[in-house]
């Protein structure tokens, strides 16, 4: 299958290993992966701030470069939700509406793609650690992804998954929210970190690097031994 990988800016710049693992996994499964260099952002920051005209400038570029492929796999539930759920709204009643709807139909978050499109749950991975899973809100509530990442983790050798009480509670990132309301965002993150630490896990795993960036940022300041890691990196471990 011809798969276009959408690597959002923060994964590209700060967490390249996540994207690299995704390429390796998809290629190992026999798919042809392409990654358009001209796309860096989905436009969500401007969209969430209320500046939809400006968001469309970014989204137009994404529409231009994400054509002619069987599936667009997104390395973040949040950006995935933007492409799949919010693009049709952003272009509602506008000339490129049909294109936005067509793209939305091809968009998959990475773990959802593996399990529900490709039907793969065992990637032969091995990761000897105790982990707890954090559901990114956009992946969970906009895209309805809950079981897929857990199914994938359940097939990883030597890995123990322990659920935290607040698995489905927001980590407090929320994009520009984290910078505009840092005290609220931080307080929310503290609840998340405490819940994750309460499981005694070595790692907080998620399918969204943006949440993990926030949680790791807080854990670092707390001097916690708990670490964060993206699901794709676990699935790529041997």
């Amino acid at each position: 299958m011809k798969v276009t990988l959408f690597i959002p800016c923060f994964v590209d710049a700060c967490f390249p290993d996540v994207g690299i693992s995704m390429v390796r996994i998809l290629e190992r499964l026999g798919h042809s992966v392409q990654c358009p260099e001209a796309v860096a952002c989905c436009g969500q920051p401007a969209f969430n701030s209320g500046y939809w005209d400006e968001a469309r400038r970014v989204a137009d570029n994404a529409l231009d470069h994400l054509r002619g492929t069987d599936a667009v796999v997104v390395a973040s539930g949040s950006c995935g939700a933007m492409l799949k759920v919010f693009y049709p709204q952003l272009y509602d009643g506008r000339p490129r509406s049909a294109e936005a709807v067509e793209l939305a139909g091809k968009v998959w978050e990475f773990s959802d793609f593996l399990v529900n499109r490709l039907g793969v749950t065992d990637l032969g991975a091995r990761f000897p650690a105790k982990v707890t899973f954090h559901d990114g809100c956009h992946g969970l509530r906009e895209l309805g992804i809950h079981a897929a990442p857990r199914q994938l983790l359940s097939h990883v050798r030597d890995l123990e998954l322990v659920e935290m009480d607040e698995a489905a509670t927001c980590c407090g990132f929320g994009g520009t929210f984290a910078a505009k309301f840092p005290m609220i965002s931080t307080a929310m993150g503290e609840v998340k970190c405490a819940s994750a630490a309460g499981t005694g896990a070595d790692y907080v795993v998620s399918n969204d690097s943006s949440c993990l960036m926030h949680v790791q940022g807080l854990l670092d300041r707390q001097g916690s031994a708990l670490k964060t890691i993206h699901l794709a990196r676990i699935l790529d471990s041997r």
């Binding site: 690597i7 800016c9 590209d12 710049a13 700060c14 967490f15 390249p16 996540v18 994207g19 690299i20 390429v23 990654c35 260099e37 001209a38 860096a40 952002c41 436009g43 920051p45 401007a46 969209f47 969430n48 701030s49 209320g50 500046y51 939809w52 400006e54 968001a55 400038r57 970014v58 570029n61 809100c137 969970l140 509530r141 906009e142 509670t169 927001c170 407090g172 990132f173 929320g174 929210f177 984290a178 910078a179 505009k180 309301f181 840092p182 005290m183 609220i184 965002s185 931080t186 307080a187 929310m188 993150g189 609840v191 960036m213 926030h214 790791q216 940022g217 807080l218 670092d220 300041r221």
Partner: protein, 464 residues
């Protein structure tokens, strides 16, 4: 920034630093969540129940004109006086006149958020009437001269010790930590008032269009006493409280109890259909039903957010909201707090003054997931943000997003930005958290990952 926004930021700052306060609220709401989940499991299918409730409220709100007329006609046919008030001032003036005409001095009130919305107590007290809140939680916050903390649990921010101290100071009671004893202290103070009050004011949970009845739901029996003992009864309700049929209560009463308080059904559920009828021996001789618009019709005119009028004020969205759980109810500075408050307050009180409430959300969607009548709450926050920006855009922010688009759409500039990030990383690190740090709103409490030595795209290009 509006005054309301500045106050919000200030209050949010102080509550988020108050670990005791946050702990108190979070513990209480965790208990709520487990009780609610037990009750939800008693529904054959909670999701179908939500869908059915949403459809019933859709019908009610989209045919509001017909339902309201039917409701009023039925009430009037049994001798109830129905009043239509466009805004809070009209409603306050009307209620004041009714009380004055009744020759009343003391007014007893049962919990009504609509009365909070129009600041009824302050207005009546200014006129020299004694107003007594009969709901225990409302009574407590009234003694503290505070607005309710939560639309269902008005005093949830207080510990038993704090309530005991308050009663000791205000009512002269002996200190106690027992909830039963605290309730008895309030009851003794309140019972005297029921007997002497000339007017009782209640809110309403549902207005049944088909039969012209008001449904009031409560756990303490205080609303029944408020309605039954005084000669004159006043019921104040927003026009969105309508349900088309009596049988709709079969779904809405257990749903309200489950979503609102994790109960199977609320302790007391009463239907009122009119004042004392000929041959009846009790009940008020006069009943005034006051229907309040207060900009609800403007929300009704908005096809995108009209479903916000489905709200049954159960508080479920507050209870699951991680923002509410960390900033508390008073921080919002509104009658209706939490997600639904953030959605409707800009409509009820002005978009530009209250847009910060729609901004202060991570858009996690826990509220939408919890709402028993399926209001699309977190997406309405997004729409409020869009409406606020298109109505009155900030030049700086618009420019920022244009530059952002330009940067993101240009591979060479984007690459240059990453290079700059690498070059300036030592400088950024050295100034981290100081006024020179451009991202200090992040770095004050969190570390920021550096730009990787080889970015994904650089790796990709190299590989090819």
């Amino acid at each position: 920034m509006s005054t309301a926004a500045a106050r919000f930021l200030d209050a949010a700052g102080s509550i988020t630093r108050n670990l005791r306060h946050r702990g108190l609220i979070q513990t209480a709401l965790r208990k709520y969540e487990s009780a609610r989940d037990r009750r939800k499991a008693a529904f054959h299918d909670w999701e179908s129940a939500r869908q059915a409730a949403a459809e019933t409220k859709w019908e009610a709100i989209n045919h509001l004109d017909e339902h309201l007329v039917s409701f009023a006609d039925k009430l009037e046919s049994r001798g109830t006086k129905v009043h239509w008030c466009g805004n809070g001032i009209e409603a306050r003036d009307l209620i004041r006149t009714i009380i004055r005409d009744a020759g009343a001095k003391c007014v007893v009130k049962s919990k009504a958020m609509t009365a909070e919305e129009i600041h009824l107590n302050e207005a009546l007290e200014k006129d020299g009437f004694e107003v007594v809140e009969s709901d225990l939680g409302e009574f407590i916050v009234q003694l503290r001269k505070e607005p309710p903390y939560h639309i269902v649990f008005p005093a949830m921010h207080l510990t038993r010790d704090e309530i005991s101290d308050l009663f000791e100071k205000e009512l002269g009671s002996a200190p106690t930590r027992e909830p039963e004893e605290l309730t008895m202290i309030a009851r003794r103070a309140l019972r005297r008032k029921y007997v002497t009050a000339d007017v009782g004011i209640t809110g309403a949970n549902f207005a049944i269009a088909e039969t012209g009845m008001v449904s009031i739901t409560e756990n303490e029996g205080n609303a029944r006493l408020t309605a039954a003992l005084p000669r004159t009864m006043i019921t104040l309700l927003g026009i969105e409280k309508v349900l088309p049929r009596m049988e709709d209560l079969a779904l809405f009463l257990p749903m309200l109890a489950t979503a609102g308080a994790g109960q199977a059904i609320t302790g007391y559920n009463t239907l009122y259909s009119g004042p004392r009828q000929p041959g009846e021996s009790d009940g008020p001789t006069e009943w005034h039903v006051v229907l309040l618009d207060n900009r609800r019709t403007e929300l009704l005119a908005d096809p995108e957010q009209r479903d916000a009028l489905h709200c049954i004020r159960c508080g479920a969205c507050l209870n699951v909201c991680p923002i509410f759980k960390n900033v508390g109810g008073h921080t919002y500075g509104t009658t209706y707090s939490g997600p639904v408050g953030s959605v409707i307050t800009p409509h009820l009180r002005g978009l530009q003054d209250w847009k910060h409430l729609s901004g202060s959300s991570s858009l996690c969607g826990a509220c939408t997931e919890a709402c028993p009548v399926r209001i699309d709450l977190h997406h309405h926050l997004l729409q409020n943000r869009r409406n606020a920006a298109s109505e009155k855009p900030s030049t700086l922010e618009r420019l920022t997003w244009r530059l952002h688009a330009f940067l993101m759409n240009s591979p060479s500039l984007y690459h240059l930005a990453k290079e700059c990030g690498r070059v300036f990383e030592p400088l950024r690190k050295a100034t981290e958290g100081t006024v020179l740090d451009p991202v200090r709103s992040w770095t004050t409490t969190r570390t920021l990952p550096p730009v990787a030595p080889v970015s994904f795209k650089e790796w990709w290009r190299e590989r090819r």
